[in-house]
Subunit: 160 residues, 4 copies
Amino acid sequence: MNEFDPDIFILDVDGWANSEPVDLAELRGQVVMVEVFQMLCPGCVSRGIPQAQRVQRAFNTDLVKVIGLHSVFEHHEAMTPVALNAFLHEYGITFPVAIDRQRDGQRIPATMARYEFQGTPTTLLIGKDGRIKHRFFGGIEDLQLGAILGQMVAREAPAN
Amino acid sequence: MNEFDPDIFILDVDGWANSEPVDLAELRGQVVMVEVFQMLCPGCVSRGIPQAQRVQRAFNTDLVKVIGLHSVFEHHEAMTPVALNAFLHEYGITFPVAIDRQRDGQRIPATMARYEFQGTPTTLLIGKDGRIKHRFFGGIEDLQLGAILGQMVAREAPAN
Amino acid sequence: MNEFDPDIFILDVDGWANSEPVDLAELRGQVVMVEVFQMLCPGCVSRGIPQAQRVQRAFNTDLVKVIGLHSVFEHHEAMTPVALNAFLHEYGITFPVAIDRQRDGQRIPATMARYEFQGTPTTLLIGKDGRIKHRFFGGIEDLQLGAILGQMVAREAPAN
Amino acid sequence: MNEFDPDIFILDVDGWANSEPVDLAELRGQVVMVEVFQMLCPGCVSRGIPQAQRVQRAFNTDLVKVIGLHSVFEHHEAMTPVALNAFLHEYGITFPVAIDRQRDGQRIPATMARYEFQGTPTTLLIGKDGRIKHRFFGGIEDLQLGAILGQMVAREAPAN
């Protein structure tokens, strides 16, 4: 496997909350769900994050690994790392959260810009081979998400 | 394949609503979800049946086939075939519904008795080989149901 | 008070479930909420009836009296008195239910026809003087219903 | 009326969001609902604030005036005025919000301490005479809240 493969999903971050840095390359062979959110985005708080928490409960972590990605592209002064930590604590969010890298003079952070996310919430499903297989902007029904994840877990060839 | 295999799921019915009789033997190779309900069971109306309708929408019918089973074990005089047809019409239920066979002088109908369902709603997931793989009494979360169905669709060997 | 007053709300019924016949004339001085429903109407089952049950719990019965009115105008053969009784039992409905009078050769029952209800669910709010003050077809938010009932309880002159 | 009356509800604040300062003394004759919240309190975000917004829609503002009170007693460093403004914008909150006064070296802000609120969300209902008539910690059903407000609007003597 070649990590310079342009199709491999890469996080470009300023840091992590809830966890030591997670190395996605070490997660080959697992399905990874990345929940892209902003702590002050109503649709993320009411739907996206609770759904990610349900996925975390429904699947064993060695089958589906849930990771948050805090991609702040508005109200930067309000959604600071210290505010994010308070938010994660209050909402009982325990999965690792990557903090998308802010770039000088740019509103859109690095990972969001690279993959051209349309906004938040966005849900990415990363295959066992490290590539993005599905992305959903604005939400997807639980039943459909479960069906896709179940098929990815069962069907996909393990890495290499 | 031997239809006298005791593990093969068999419906024992008085008739069908919404459909010509469905021959389960012809569904080998497909996953089948059987939603066991009573039209006057509140948990069936508020949760079980809407979930079956969501499964019907989420999966192509050649992957997961949804069938209802009306297993009346109380208020028999109220839940007649004519009442069932009115119910199906009002609730927009379009999947085939088997009417569990009433037995003289017995409260519990035939299929329910044979498989010892605990009550309604009960959800049965039948594998591609025609055998019951999972059963849930009282409900299961959408995400978990989707995950199980997704894995059954992807993983299970086709029949014979 | 003159019971032949054409503005006084009158029930024209075949009978009652859950209760001896209720004489509306004896309820002057109380606010009465009449929930018009059909047992196989999805909007009644999911919204109208649960709301009537919440009103029953929220207000002392000598302030707001809740009454159901089963106005069957379709699927008459399915929504019989015996079926209604099974329905009331299964859904834990304890308020008195009037059975709107069926008329020979007519689809629409008597009370529904007299007051030209548009369909079910319909909610009628009857003042302390026995007259219809408000009617809602298809539902009203809890907060608004509570506000109107609260004002009716507080504001209206008692019957004299 | 004597503003030094110890029963008159008084806000002790650092400032206001969404509005010029509101003088409660000028609201005599109106019912006032004060929604006490913290922007990172899950129960406030999912239940308390949406309910306050429904009250704002259900009642004419000259009958029931809705005011928020941001009483920060934890994560002070995250719930700053700039963060509050971003939150109000994202959640479409348009009613005036008082910012409870932080006191040097104290965790609990001034108004919260004075009236011994148990936590957030807390809902206060202030009568036309300026006194607290009801307080609810943790939530109240819409129907019951509507009923109480309806009675307060109708029953209470106007201020003199």
